[in-house]
């Protein structure tokens, strides 16, 4: 017997072949990208301790990001091919240039900060890194949304905001770990704000996806990551009050916040694979769309 939803129930679209490195990159790029505006805000409020912590996080991010990307490509030479052309129609092309620009500026800013050489140049690079950081934190949402995977494409109106919120929460949580409590007020605020934005936009996204297309978030790996993300985020926020007066609690809250953002990205990453692998998510909405159009036409 044939299965009506597709050819013997096989997927109609192909699932992404990306391995866990890419899921991890969604998180690392977000953390690094959202760290640089914090650096700039900290400088403006004469908080060099916080600035240095977040610059350190951005710096770690630009070391880890290419490693993850190249691990998925399997060959360092292949990354160079990314910079052959610039294509606005390819979020991956745009993102490769953003990462390159951001990385160069973070490297200059960090080198200047820790050697004390060429401070004006370093500070200029810091500003450029702060301007490109939010783009680095959010372009990955455009990348996922620009695929035929229903749970990603249909989330295109919310996904960039989800990524922005998560990136901010993780960058602030990271700063919280490495900054003494007296200098961490901004980090505490942003960790809370980021988590709220992420939660609120995720809820909106789920509502828009509806019960059928949004179903992968309730299945398998995606749902498990989601549950961990929810739990750690709630705990992190609960500890935030105590984090004002106790460094250990601040570190715990920061670690929980980072874990939450990481799991949230993996939940979205896994949902995409589930969404691509079951033909009903592709076929049923398309049948409905076509019927609606035909009904309107007649």
């Amino acid at each position: 017997m044939t299965t009506p939803m597709s050819y013997y129930g096989r997927p109609v679209i192909k699932a992404p072949t990306w391995r866990w490195y890419i899921g991890a990159y969604l998180f690392v790029g977000g953390l690094a990208g959202a760290s640089t505006p914090i650096v700039l805000a900290a400088r403006a409020t004469r908080n060099d301790t916080l600035a240095r912590a977040s610059l350190g996080a951005a710096c770690a991010g630009i070391v880890v990001s290419p490693i993850l990307l190249i691990a998925d490509l399997r060959d360092p030479k292949r990354f160079i091919n990314m910079l052959r052309v610039f294509k606005i129609t390819s979020p991956m092309s745009v993102g490769s240039w953003i990462l390159t620009f951001f990385g160069a500026n973070v490297a200059v800013a960090a080198a200047s900060e820790w050697t004390g050489i060429a401070t004006p140049l370093g500070r200029t690079a810091e500003v450029l890194a702060a301007l490109s950081g939010p783009a680095l934190a959010t372009y990955t949402a455009a990348l996922l949304a620009d695929t035929a995977v229903p749970v990603w494409h249909d989330a295109r109106h919310e996904l960039p905001f989800v990524f922005a919120g998560g990136a901010l929460a993780s960058a602030a949580s990271c700063a919280l770990i490495f900054t003494p409590i007296a200098d961490a007020k901004l980090a505490r605020r942003l960790a809370t704000l980021g988590a709220i934005v992420e939660f609120a936009t995720l809820e909106r996204m789920k509502k828009r996806l509806g019960p059928l297309v949004g179903e992968p978030y309730r299945l398998g790996g995606s749902s498990r990551y989601k549950q961990i993300a929810r739990m750690t985020s709630a705990l992190s926020l609960a500890l935030m009050r105590g984090a004002k007066g106790n460094r250990t609690l601040a570190i715990a809250s920061g670690l929980l916040g980072i874990t939450s953002a990481l799991c949230e990205r993996f939940s979205i990453f896994e949902a995409g694979k589930l969404s691509a692998n079951d033909p009903k998510y592709t076929v049923a909405p398309q049948l409905a769309r076509r019927a609606q159009r035909e009904a309107q036409a007649s």
Binding site: Y8, L40, A41, A44, V85, I88, A137, T138, A142, A284
Partner: protein, 307 residues
């Protein structure tokens, strides 16, 4: 060539389809499921075997298009059933936005009248291939420029440029392009680019014994397909063309089909769209979200400085 109203972001990659565009018209009413096209394709393009798989579901053991399978002959066995059209045995899950659910759509085909195969069953065979979309998502999202539009209007991967990033794989609305295990590159039908350059037919079309696979100028093929449909529709009331409409979500296929049942029965998407159609709005949303992130940091920093 047709123009699209939302080409702002997509113009760069997909727009320059040549006037004399070559294509495939796969007429599934003529397909006998012999798989000569699959074999010829593998031979000519030196593609690796898929192994001796036994699906135990039909005479098709290839199952799907892939990195080493650029033609795939589907084999669908529809058993005799007392009433109703094919393939509505299991109702589709209801779509909340649609009154009556998706199942109500399928009922509509019942109105075409009784079909012969309801009493005797039938075999559907169809040779699937890359659609060589007018607006190709794979080509749009390719970050290296490895995927190009050829002078024949086809979509071709350049092996030496492809870096195996895999972005085209989930971007294709038909699940055509795939990673080729031995090379790690993306791979799919080239419409035998090398043969076309020598003025030859693609290997599959050449080997097809029934002319189910027809190759030629796309406009001529479209005209021929209209004629063919008019001829067969009396015998096959559920026959339909798939991919011949330039106003569809991918701007029409360069390789289109005459099917005997609904597209999804063959594993084809009923209403495919090129995802980059929405890219201008996706970029806008992304820019807003980046801006929101920056503003949030700026506002939150007020009053956090040292006195």
């Amino acid at each position: 060539m047709k123009t699209f109203d939302d080409t702002a972001a997509t113009a760069q990659a997909t727009y320059d389809v040549p006037e004399d565009r070559m294509g495939f018209f796969t007429d599934t009413t003529l397909c006998i499921g012999c798989k000569a096209c699959e074999v010829a394709c593998k031979e000519w393009n030196e593609l690796q075997e898929d192994g001796y798989n036994f699906t135990a579901e039909s005479y098709d053991n290839t199952s799907a298009l892939g990195g080493n399978t650029w033609r795939h002959v589907a084999f669908i066995e529809q058993l005799p059933r007392p009433v109703g059209p094919a393939n509505d045995a299991e109702p589709l899950p209801p779509i909340p936005e649609l009154d009556g659910g998706v199942a109500s759509l399928l009922d509509r085909d019942a109105s075409v009248g009784p079909m012969q195969f309801d009493t005797m069953g039938r075999w559907l065979m169809s040779s699937d291939v890359c659609k060589h979309c007018t607006r190709a998502a794979c080509l749009d999202v390719c970050p290296t420029g490895a995927l190009v539009r050829s002078e024949f209007g086809t979509v071709v991967v350049q092996d030496d440029v492809c870096n195996g990033c895999g972005y085209c794989v989930p971007a294709c609305p038909f699940g055509v392009i795939a990673e080729q295990p031995q090379s790690g590159h993306a791979a799919k039908c080239t419409m035998c680019y090398d043969r076309l350059r020598d003025g030859e037919k693609p290997a599959c079309a050449k080997s097809c014994p029934t002319e189910s696979i027809q190759f030629g100028n796309l406009d001529e093929l479209r005209a021929r397909a209209d004629e063919r449909l008019a001829n067969v529709v009396a015998r096959f009331p559920t026959a339909r063309l798939y991919g011949n409409d330039e106003d569809d979500g991918v701007g029409g296929f360069g390789a289109f089909f005459l099917l005997l049942d609904k597209p999804h029965v063959y594993g084809l998407p009923p209403d495919p769209i090129v995802t980059t159609r929405d890219l201008p709005s996706i970029w806008r949303t992304t820019a807003y979200s980046a801006l929101a992130l920056s503003l949030l940091v700026v506002t939150a920093s007020i009053g956090t400085g040292k006195a």
